[in-house]
C-alpha cells in the first residue's frame, strides 16, 4: 500500500515536472480552459441566482391576481367585483390594486406606478426605487414631477427610497397614495387595476381560481406559481441565448484541446518510448498522463469556477449583465445572494473536465501500447 502511494507520488512528481518543461504551451492551454469554465460557470451561477432571487421576492406576492378582460384585453375592475365574487373558503384577504406604467421622456425609461396605502403617504408624497433615484439624480426630500393624463403636471416629494435589497424588482417602482394615483392617471373612483387574493393553503389555489372564473366569467386569475414559471423560462431562454453565443468559443476550445490531446508531438511519443524502454508499464504511462490531464483540467475548473463566483457575486456579473438581466432601461444594481446548485456544478464538471481527460488519454494509450523498441530506431 505504501509502495502504491509512493508510486503515485513519483508519477505526480514526474507529471508536474513534465508540465513545467512545456510551460508556455501548458500555461496557454490552462488560460483558455479557465476562460471557458469561467464563462460557462458565470452564466450558470448568474441565472440560477437570479431565479432564486426572483423566487424569493415573489414569495411575499399574493397567490392569485384577478384581472378583468374586455375583448381579450386587460381592463379596469369595478370595485363591486369584490362583493360579487362572494366569500371563498380559504381566501384570507382580498383587495383591489391600483398600478400602471409611466413613461418618463427625460430619462427615456418606464416607471411602474403603484398605490401603497400601508405606507401612509399623503397625496403629495411618493416613495421611489433606487434605479429611478440614480437615473434622475434625486434623493429623499427632492421633488419629482409626473405629467398627468390631462396634461397637468404634478410634483411629489420623495419621502423614501426603497431598500436596495429588493432592487431586482423595485428598481423602477414609484409608490404613491390612491388619491395621487387617480389624479395622475384619471382612473375613476370605484375602479381598480386588478384584484389580489391571499390564500393560506397552496393546494387550494387552483380550486379557488376555478371558482373565480365561474363566478366572474369576464376575469382571468393569474397564479403566483405561473409567474414564477414564466420568470424561470425567461431566465432559461436568456441563458440559452448566451450559450448559443458562446458555442463558437466552446467549439474553438474543443478543437484546440483535441488538437493538443490527439496530436502527440514527436517529442512526447519519444518520451513515452523511453519510459517504456526503461521499465515503465503501459499502465504507468497512462496513469502519468491521466494525472497530467487531471492537473490541467482540475486547475482550470477550480480557477474558472472561483473567478466566475467572484465575477457574479462580487462583480455583479458585469460581462453578461445586459443580456441576462433584461431589457429595462433602469438596470437594477444589486448584490446577488450566492446560490450554488450541486447538480449544476456536477454538470459543468462533467462537460468540461471529463471530455478533456478522455481526449488526452486515448492518443496516449495508442502511443503507449506500441512496442518500446521504437526508441532504438
Amino acid at each position: 500500500m505504501i509502495d502504491l502511494i509512493r508510486k503515485q507520488r513519483y508519477l505526480i512528481d514526474f507529471t508536474l515536472s513534465s508540465l513545467l518543461r512545456r510551460k508556455g504551451k501548458n500555461l496557454g492551454l490552462l488560460l483558455v480552459y479557465t476562460l471557458i469554465v469561467f464563462m460557462l460557470a458565470s452564466i450558470m451561477l448568474f441565472t440560477h441566482a437570479l431565479r432564486q432571487e426572483a423566487g424569493m421576492v415573489l414569495q411575499s406576492a399574493p397567490e392569485i391576481i384577478l384581472q378583468r378582460m374586455v375583448a381579450g384585453r386587460h381592463a379596469l375592475v369595478p370595485a363591486d367585483y369584490l362583493e360579487k365574487m362572494g366569500s371563498l373558503r380559504g381566501v384570507t384577504d382580498k383587495k383591489g390594486r391600483l398600478w400602471g406604467y409611466f413613461y418618463d421622456p427625460t430619462v427615456k425609461a418606464n416607471y411602474t406606478m403603484m398605490v401603497d396605502e400601508a405606507r401612509g403617504l399623503t397625496a403629495m408624497e411618493v416613495v421611489i426605487g433606487a434605479g429611478i433615484a440614480r437615473a434622475k439624480g434625486i434623493g429623499i426630500g427632492d421633488y419629482i414631477s409626473f405629467r398627468a393624463y390631462d396634461g397637468d403636471a404634478f410634483s411629489f416629494q420623495v419621502k423614501e427610497i426603497i431598500n436596495p435589497v429588493t432592487e431586482l424588482v423595485s428598481s423602477d417602482l414609484v409608490l404613491m397614495s390612491e388619491r395621487a394615483y387617480r389624479a395622475t392617471f384619471g382612473v375613476p373612483d370605484g375602479y381598480f387595476t386588478d384584484i389580489v387574493l391571499k390564500v393560506r393553503n397552496p393546494r387550494e389555489v387552483r380550486k379557488i381560481a376555478e371558482k373565480l372564473s365561474m363566478r366572474l366569467p369576464d376575469t382571468r386569475p393569474i397564479l403566483r406559481e405561473e409567474i414564477l414559471r414564466t420568470y424561470d423560462s425567461i431566465f432559461s431562454w436568456r441563458q440559452g441565448i448566451v450559450f448559443v453565443l458562446l458555442a463558437g468559443a466552446i467549439l474553438a476550445f474543443v478543437i484546440f484541446a483535441w488538437d493538443k490531446a490527439s496530436g502527440l508531438s514527436a517529442e512526447e511519443k519519444r518520451e513515452i518510448g523511453i519510459l517504456k524502454a526503461v521499465g515503465w508499464e503501459t499502465a504507468d504511462v497512462l496513469r502519468m498522463k491521466f494525472w497530467e490531464g487531471a492537473v490541467i483540467s482540475l486547475s482550470a475548473f477550480i480557477l474558472g469556477y472561483l473567478s466566475a463566483y467572484a465575477h457574479v457575486f462580487y462583480g455583479s456579473a458585469t460581462l453578461f449583465e445586459p443580456v441576462l438581466k433584461g431589457w429595462a432601461v433602469l438596470y437594477p444594481e444589486f448584490q446577488l445572494t450566492p446560490f450554488i446548485d450541486g447538480l449544476q456544478v456536477a454538470t459543468l464538471f462533467f462537460f468540461t473536465v471529463f471530455p478533456y481527460i478522455v481526449a488526452t488519454i486515448i492518443p496516449i494509450w495508442k502511443a503507449s501500447i506500441t512496442d518500446p523498441d521504437a526508441v532504438m530506431r
Partner: protein
C-alpha cells in the same frame, strides 16, 4: 542467468506488400558475466535482435529463454517486469529526457517501483559519484557533453541493479578517446559481475580486449566464424 535463443525470426509489416524479415532464423546462447558483442553493418539485424533479447519487442517465431523462463509469449506486463529487473539499457542516442535534471533522469526507471525516496536518491548519488557526475546532478541533461550524457545513460541503466546491461551502438556518438573510456567502464561492470551485450560496428568496441565474444551478423543471420 543464461539467455538462449532458438530459431528466432522477426518480420516487420507481415502480410503487407512491404513485408520485411529482419531476422531470419537465429539460434544463440549468451553467457553470464561476459561481454558479448553483436557486430555487423547497418541493417544486419543486430538492433532488432537486441531489442527482442531485452524484451522490448517479441519475435515473430522462435523461442527466447531467460534461465528457466520462456520469454517469448509472455504478456506485456510480465515482459515489462522482467525488463525492469533484469535489463538496463544504454541507447545509441542516449535517450535522456530533455528538460529534466541528471538526477531525475537516473531515477526514472525506479519510479514505478515506488521505492523510498531517500533510499532511491542515495542510490542515484552513489552511481553518479562512481561515474564522476555528482557535480552535474542538478543540471538539466542538455547541458552535458557527449561523454557525460553517455555516463548518465549508464547510471540510469544501473539504477535498478539489473543483471544484464544492453547497449545499442553505445559509441556511435563518441570520439575514439571517449569510446575507449566507455569500454573501460564496461570492463569495470563485467568485473562487478554484470553480463553485457553490445551491438556495434565500431572496431574500438569489437576489437577491445574487454569483449569476450564477438558474434557477427549479416542480413538477419549469424555469420559463422
Amino acid at each position: 542467468m543464461l539467455i538462449e535463443l532458438t530459431d528466432i525470426k522477426k518480420a516487420f509489416n507481415q502480410g503487407k506488400p512491404n513485408e520485411f524479415w529482419a531476422i531470419r532464423g537465429v539460434s544463440l546462447r549468451i553467457e553470464q558475466h561476459k561481454v558479448t558483442c553483436l557486430k555487423g553493418s547497418s541493417g544486419s539485424g543486430k538492433t532488432t535482435l537486441l531489442s527482442m533479447i531485452g524484451c522490448l519487442s517479441r519475435p515473430t517465431s522462435g523461442r527466447i529463454t531467460l534461465g528457466e523462463r520462456r520469454l517469448s509469449g509472455l504478456p506485456e506486463r510480465f515482459l515489462t517486469d522482467i525488463r525492469r529487473h533484469t535489463f538496463g539499457f544504454i541507447f545509441q542516442k542516449f535517450n535522456l529526457i530533455q528538460g529534466m535534471s541528471v538526477l531525475e533522469n537516473v531515477m526514472l526507471p525506479a519510479y514505478p517501483l515506488g521505492l523510498n525516496y531517500t533510499r532511491l536518491t542515495k542510490d542515484a548519488y552513489r552511481l553518479l559519484d562512481h561515474f564522476n557526475l555528482t557535480s552535474k546532478a542538478e543540471n538539466p541533461v542538455e547541458w552535458l557533453s557527449g561523454g557525460e550524457a553517455q555516463r548518465v545513460a549508464i547510471c540510469r541503466a544501473l539504477i535498478n541493479d539489473p543483471e544484464m546491461l544492453i547497449a545499442d551502438e553505445p559509441t556511435a556518438n563518441l570520439d575514439t578517446r571517449l569510446s575507449e573510456e566507455f569500454m573501460g567502464l564496461i570492463d569495470e561492470l563485467r568485473r562487478s559481475g554484470k553480463t553485457v551485450l553490445i551491438t556495434s560496428h565500431d572496431p574500438v568496441v569489437f576489437d577491445s580486449p574487454v569483449v569476450d565474444r564477438v558474434i557477427e551478423m549479416c542480413d538477419g543471420l549469424l555469420v559463422e566464424r
